[in-house]
Amino acid sequence: MAAPISAQIRPMKTSAELALAETFAAARAILPGGPDVAAQRAAAFGTFADAGLPHRRVEAWRYTDLRALMREARPLAAPPDADAKARAAAAGAMLAGLGFRRLVLVNGAFVPELSDLADLEAGLSIRSMAEALATGDALTARLGQTVASSDAVLALNTALMGDGVVLHVAAGTAIERPVELVFVTTEAAPVSMFTRSLAVVEEGASLTLIESHEGPSGVAYQVNTALELVVGAGAKVERVKITAEGADAVHLATVLARVDATATFANTFFTTGGLVVRNQLLAHLAGEAIQARMNGVSLLSGKQHADTLLSVDHAAPAGESRESFRAVLDGAAQDIFQGKIAVRQAAQKTDARMLSRALLLTETAEACAKPELEIFADDVQCGHGCTTGTLDQQLKFYLMSRGIPAKEAEALLIQAFVGEVIDAIGNEGVRTALADATQAWLLGRE
């Protein structure tokens, strides 16, 4: 009998994959964590090594061929020195002055002296991930338990995770003051950073968690960041993630969110920076009657490429989820939206709606949308829609006929296009900051 022809063929490893293997071999002994964590890292690296960097034939990465886009793997960033910390002091300008509790990570390392750890609210605890791993903090046992995934980029993060933030909000505690994680890269040489954070918001607690990423343009640095988020029963979590990386950065981000019964979970992506940006959000809606809102705005120009992958898993009855994504594309930018809503058999009375819309400002910009529904329950309401188009010329004329110049008319319409997503954010300061950032982006257009 002939051998099965579907046998897995291991392609030649790319130089980036070989470099990552060397990086892991050199770093594994010094990365934080005890034997359990070391074993977890080794297993994760094995998963990565088997799969290699994702490429076109991996469905979830079909439009973002990382094997081609990441020809080189950069060396791990060194811990920030005084100079790096000084350069990082001005980071997070977009949300400065809003009085949020800032936790600053420089070149992937948590920097307590730049962070606001004073007067922690009762019930809120904050630690560095490196410290939590090194001391065997009980919370770290939850890493990898939030949502199951065999994604190679996430596996690489698990293998090489250096630092990050561990947040815990005790049951029934409402944290009014938003917590902001400021990730800043200051290195002029291209480095790579693997950060992993964990936020556990216990039953009935609430938290607003903002995350921003920035770094220098002209430096081909690489960020691989992941967040595991546990939203306890009846808890309320609003998260906003701002990706404003330097113009040559590769930014790969994974969020694994588990949402328990009657909880409210909101996640908004706001992406303006980075050469290659991947935001993957895997939401396991585990409990009954949850409410989830997962939105995003991408404002891209030049040769930027941003890929959002959303996987929403309705596992219990009567959940409601809303997904709304907007991309504005200038130059030769590319935006990818892959959104999947799965409704398990048990998840009767699910109400899920997904909409992605792209606005092309040039003939060279490109948008791809791949919505998917996978429904095993028979009493649900699910819908998805996607549109790609140009600015409405009738509306533009209407505005111009009132005296508004062409560029301003376009800016008003684009603000309105993304405004729907921004306006859904609960925190007013963040809404204003993102509207201003949109305005700034529009002013920067040619």
Partner: protein
């Protein structure tokens, strides 16, 4: 006295298509209200679009002089700043742009272009609220996105509000009465009449005489097959109501 608007032998067509305006002449003096009446499909709305600079129309001949400048060389926003206002037959809905923000941007864009000081937010809000009251437009409607969820009457009142706020020299009203019940028609007409002044002119485009009971014209033109075929006083509107347009369509053909 120089006319406010002078259209001379204007020819226009839909880009790459049919000829719509075919040798039109019209002269409007400051302070005059002119009505243009004519059957559906005569090109009345096209005239309003050509005057306001809507893309998609090609001027193949003639000129339009407005307040001493060649209007056809200006972009739509420049025409507006020069003092031209088109009251749309079907005002568009603009989701996501609040009415107040829209008005603010429009007023100050025009003022900037004319080299005037811009209005501050409080100044503008006060002015808009005052005008809004006379038109039955409340604070809630001003907060909402432009025309979104407005009834036909509310949309027209909103157009009138814009017109009153922007204080143009020439108001072109394109079928201002479509979609209006009698009460709304009265409100809109009162707004328009309040704007009548020795410096300001109106061009009222309509195919029903009814509107002209409320906005009484000085001159009535019959527009057919792309040009003015007959001109008279306000009594002409009543004659047309009785006899119809057929005789003029034959005249044009």
């Amino acid at each position: 006295m120089a006319p406010l608007l002078e259209i001379k032998d204007l020819h226009a067509e839909i880009s790459g298509g049919r000829k719509i305006i075919d040798g039109m002449n019209l002269s409007i003096n400051p302070g005059e209200v002119h009505a243009i009446m004519g059957p559906n499909g005569a090109g009345k709305s096209t005239l309003s679009y050509v005057l306001s600079g809507k893309p998609g129309y090609e001027i193949t001949g003639g000129e339009v002089i407005f307040r001493g400048v060649n209007l056809l060389e200006l972009s739509p926003d420049e025409r507006a700043a020069q003092g031209l206002f088109l009251c749309f037959q079907y005002p568009l809905e603009i989701p996501g742009v609040s009415n107040m923000a829209f008005l603010h941007t429009a007023v100050n864009s025009q003022r900037r272009k004319r080299g005037e000081t811009e209005l501050t937010s409080p100044e503008l809000v006060r002015k808009v609220r005052e005008l809004g009251q006379t038109l039955g437009i409340n604070a809630e409607m001003l907060k909402r996105p432009v025309n979104v969820g407005f009834s036909g009457g509310e949309k027209k009142r909103n157009e009138t509000l814009q017109m009153m706020l922007l204080e143009p020299y020439l108001c072109v009203l394109d079928e201002a009465d479509s979609g209006l019940d009698i009460d709304a028609l009265k409100v809109v007409s009162n707004g328009v009449n309040a704007l009548r002044s020795p410096e300001r002119s109106m061009l009222v485009i309509t195919h029903y005489q009814r509107l002209l009971d409320y906005i009484v014209p000085d001159v009535v033109h019959v527009f057919a097959a792309g040009r003015i075929v007959h001109t008279g006083g306000k009594e002409l509107a009543l004659e047309l109501e009785a006899t119809g347009y057929a005789q003029y369509q034959n005249e044009a053909a």
